[in-house]
């Protein structure tokens, strides 16, 4: 089936099988491998990306459902050499250990701040409930998101 998806600002036309998952389409057809697949059961959040500006778990969305939509992946955040403020906050606050959950965490965190620009620490912890960090590095992840919110970005 032919689909047309705007990915990181660029219109992409593809012909795919209807059963293709969004994450598979992004990683394998478009070769944007910054998004990771963790659990593949919509539990861990590693595959989070933005669909029309909101975080979704792309292992549980069909690529055909994203036809005509705007998709942003971790690759679409930086402007040239300048990182997105959330990426910068994760770097400054050591919001990652092994890094596997990081792309999903960053995408979920940006979506969270869009819906709640001034979250409390509890808001951040609840807001990131859909993203698991197996290094258990939650403390600095939460600090990173709070720092980004405080910087008002």
């Amino acid at each position: 089936m032919k689909i047309s998806v705007t990915v990181n600002g660029e219109k992409r036309d593809s012909d795919i099988e209807p059963r293709t998952l969004l994450v598979q389409y992004i990683r394998e057809n478009l070769e944007l491998t910054g998004t990771n697949v963790g659990c593949d059961t919509s539990s861990c959040g590693a595959c989070s990306m933005h669909m029309n500006g909101e975080a979704v778990k792309s292992c549980t969305v069909l690529a055909v459902q994203a036809d005509g939509c705007d998709i942003t992946t971790i690759e679409g955040l930086a402007k040239g050499d300048k990182m997105h403020p959330m990426q910068e906050a994760f770097m400054q606050n050591h919001g990652l250990q092994c890094g596997y959950c990081t792309p999903g965490m960053v995408m979920a965190a940006i979506s969270l701040l869009k819906e709640n620009p001034n979250p409390t620490e509890e808001d951040v912890r609840i807001g990131l409930e859909g993203n698991l960090c197996r290094c258990t590095g939650y403390h600095n992840i939460v600090q990173s998101v709070l720092a980004c919110a405080k910087a008002g970005k």
């Binding site: 089936m1 099988e17 209807p18 059963r19 293709t20 998952l21 598979q24 593949d40 059961t41 919509s42 539990s43 959040g45 989070s48 669909m51 909101e54 975080a55 979704v56 778990k57 549980t60 969305v61 069909l62 055909v64 459902q65 979920a108 979506s111 969270l112 819906e115 609840i126 807001g127 409930e129 859909g130 993203n131």
Partner: protein, 274 residues
Amino acid sequence: MIPAAFDYKRAGSAAEAISLVSEYGDDAKFLAGGHSLLPLMKLRLAAPGVLVDIGRLTDLSYIRDAGDHIAIGALTRHMDVEKSPVLAQHVPLLACAAGHVGDPQVRHRGTIGGSIAHADPASDLPATTLALGATYVVQGASGTREIAAKDFYKGFLESALRPDEMLTEIRVPKMHGAGWSFQKFNRRAQDWAIVGVAAWRRGSESGVGLVNMGSTPVLASSVASAIASGASVADAAQKASAEAEPQSDLNATSDYRKHLASVLVRRALDEASK
């Protein structure tokens, strides 16, 4: 995991969607947000030959004040139910329960109609709308009919919906200031409830729905009867499992679930009685 191959049809209207499933019969399934169906398809627990995508029927995404009740379009997403000012005012229990479904990413995609039509006893919204005495509006090839929530759930993932019928609207009576509580007991924040309780109370009137306490969502009528006849919350809560036949699984035995239900019903009714 990739689902088994299927044909994909995108419906432009409810009527077209119904005509498509009528054409393909049992082999077709509606796809709304896909957050119940796609996980099953990835595990090959479901393998429909045709998916009829109704996810773009935006005219079925609404929350309206309809006088004595709030009318919610079946394709309204959990996030929109959770954040609705109309529901916050008139049916706060449902808005709260919607905020407990999955996690924000799931709530951005999953829909109230999808969750109810899927009829999973472990889902939060079937039991909550059951407790609230909701009515479901379904549309089929031969017209529209209304099904009371208490008559809707027939078995595990089985509902009164006929194969060619689509759930289009959920009508939830206004709570008129009744006290309420939603209790969800789980191991991790985003998990399904091991046991969940949705409860409201206004004096001697009450409604209690149980999540994951059997093969269907459960209306705990014995608890409501006990409250109506003047029993204390603690005594009424002892009847929590009267209508339930909870299963044993990795998370809990049947007996553990029964105990948990009585504890959570007590907590919920205490909160709803304040």
